[in-house]
Amino acid sequence: MDTGFLRVLLDPGRFFEARMQEKPSLKIPALIALVIGLIGAVSTVPMADITMAMLPADMQGLGVIMMVISAGVAFVGGLLAWVICGFVLYLVSMIFKGQGDLERTMEFTGYGLIPQIFGGIIGTYFSYQLLSGLNIPPMTNPEQMVEFSENLVTILTTDPLAQIAGLVSILFIIWSANIWIFGMKYARNLSTRDAVLTVGIPVGLYILSRLITLAGWL
């Protein structure tokens, strides 16, 4: 369990301390990001089903294309999120005079995304719960489809289950942030205080924006 995933989740300090003894490797973090992307792609299936149901028979081909595109975007989104998080943390840590190469930061940021796998699975479950019971009325023109889509957004933002899903995702982000604190501490050679600030500032702002959105729902 010295380098196992469970240690990343429960004892990230010791894990990253041990990883610092080895050369940086992005293989496993990339794999984690791909898994997250894959889960994201799977989570688009219920919405794709709804889209297909909305479209008339002669436009089902277009629906398939849209479904593939959305799944692909969601898949790539996992990698993109990893890269963005890594760069943001790297840049913020520069404020606190962090020292350490970008590759190590990216590696540790990738490990910190492991909680998002669980978050993605639970989020997908909520997504299925939300969308599986949807009644799709017969639609004959594009205006109805647009109206339907707008109402669907309204539903998904007002449903208590959607709000709970939002809170759950925030919890997993907090968990990831906790791992990143230890990661930045070692990857950028920061004090614990500076590592907390390096992670806390961007993640705090992100969580705040999510909470504001949720508060608007409530």
Binding site: L9, L10, D11, P12, G13, R14, P115, I122, F126, Q129, L130, L131, G133, L134, N135, I136, P137, P138, M139, E143, Q144, M145, E147, F148, N151, L152, T154, I155, T158, D159, P160, L161, I164, A165, L167, V168, L171, F172, I174, W175, N178, I179, F182
Partner: protein
């Protein structure tokens, strides 16, 4: 004297002897008054005819019997087969029960007094008026239209066009398919050319004919006259008219929300106004029904209802229930299209509409994350 003249004089005397006035017998017996109760009979009525005779002479007169006879108005009995003597200056009253068997008009039954000892008799024709004109009844107030179970005020006026007074006048509603209060109206005595009114609160339960029966007495005779009021349901021009406008349908979790305005476009108040989604919609919390209360004419109020539908329902009725001042319930509905706005989620919440499973997951995740974070910092 010639024999012919003697014969003529003898015949003249005989004629005078037969056609002489009553007083000619016992010279001083006269009829001083006569009366009839009721003063004017109707055909078939029974009345009491009273004749008063007086002996205005200085001697007692022996009377054998008193009779009444005639056609049109006939006596029902002969109560005076033997009368006796009538002293000087005395008077005697003879009462006969008569019945009007003929038609309308004035009849003259003859009162006859037979004197004893071949003294002849007294004949006196008594005028009796018979008129069949009944009391007249008319509805002087009623609603523009009747509605089922809606109470209406009906005012009936009873007039007396007869030449004599009517007594015990009352109006009794008769028929089925309605309830009425009071069940009868009493007017009492009506003098000639007088009238009286009675007001009824009539509540029809079905279209029917209501018969207002006017009952009165002419002397001891009871008569009736019917006034028929057809009760046909129609739209009251003044009744409350709730109109729903400004409707907005919004999908919500588990169903739809309809918000809108309800306005009373009628001329009467709509009371206890309640708005609810009608079948096939199933009301759901939080607004299964919306109680507006009283809507006066031209008043407007907003409302909100929440409901869910099954399948591909594209239109539901919004039902407005209200009452009038009498408490009668009315229902109006307006179809509201869901159309392309439909995107409800099926009920996923348990126990009051909150997703318990989701909440449980949230709590477990929170505990797990908190435990992991606590553990990670404890290890450092």
């Amino acid at each position: 004297m010639k024999p012919l003249n003697v014969l003529i004089i003898s015949l003249l005397c005989a004629a005078i002897a037969f056609t002489a006035p009553a007083s000619a017998g016992p010279a001083d017996i006269t009829v001083v008054s006569s009366s009839l109760d009721p003063p004017v009979l109707m055909k078939g009525d029974t009345g009491t005819l009273t004749v008063v005779v007086q002996n205005t002479g200085a001697e007692t007169v022996a009377i054998r019997s008193a009779r009444l006879y005639g056609s049109g108005v006939v006596p029902l009995n002969e109560p005076y087969p033997s009368v006796g003597e009538l002293g000087a200056g005395n008077s005697k009253t003879f009462t006969f029960t008569v019945r009007a068997d003929g038609g309308e008009g004035t009849f003259y039954p003859t009162f006859v007094l037979d004197f004893r000892d071949g003294a002849g008799n007294l004949r006196y024709p008594v005028p009796v008026q018979v008129e069949n004109t009944p009391l007249s009844a008319s509805v002087i107030q009623k609603p523009d239209a009747f509605a089922e179970s809606r109470t209406a005020d009906i005012t009936v006026r009873v007039g007396n066009p007869r030449p004599n007074a009517a007594s015990g006048v009352q109006v009794v509603p008769q028929g089925s398919g309605f309830t009425v209060t009071p069940t009868g109206g009493f007017i009492g005595s009506l003098a000639p050319d007088a009238s009286g009114t009675v007001t009824f609160n009539l509540t029809p339960t079905a279209e029917t004919d209501v018969t207002f029966q006017v009952v009165w007495r002419n002397g001891i005779n009871t008569h009736t006259a019917d006034l028929v009021l057809p009760v046909a349901f129609g739209e009251d021009k003044k009744q409350a008219d709730p109109v729903i406008t400004n409707v907005e349908v919004t999908p919500i979790a588990g169903g739809y929300r309809i918000v809108g305005d309800v306005m009373n476009a009628g001329l009467e108040s709509a009371r206890s106004v309640v708005i609810s989604p009608g079948s096939p919609a199933t009301p759901i919390d939080p607004f299964r029904v919306y109680v507006v209360g009283t809507l006066d004419p031209d008043d407007i109020s907003s409302f909100e209802v929440t409901f869910k539908v099954n399948g591909t329902v594209t239109e539901i009725p919004v039902v407005v229930e209200y009452r009038d001042d009498d408490g009668n319930r009315y229902t109006a509905s307006m179809p509201v299209g869901l159309g392309g706005t439909a995107a409800p989620l099926e009920e996923q919440q348990e126990d009051g509409g909150f997703p318990i499973v989701g909440l449980l997951v949230l709590v477990l995740v929170a505990l797990g994350v908190a435990g992991a974070i606590y553990y990670s910092w404890k290890r450092t």
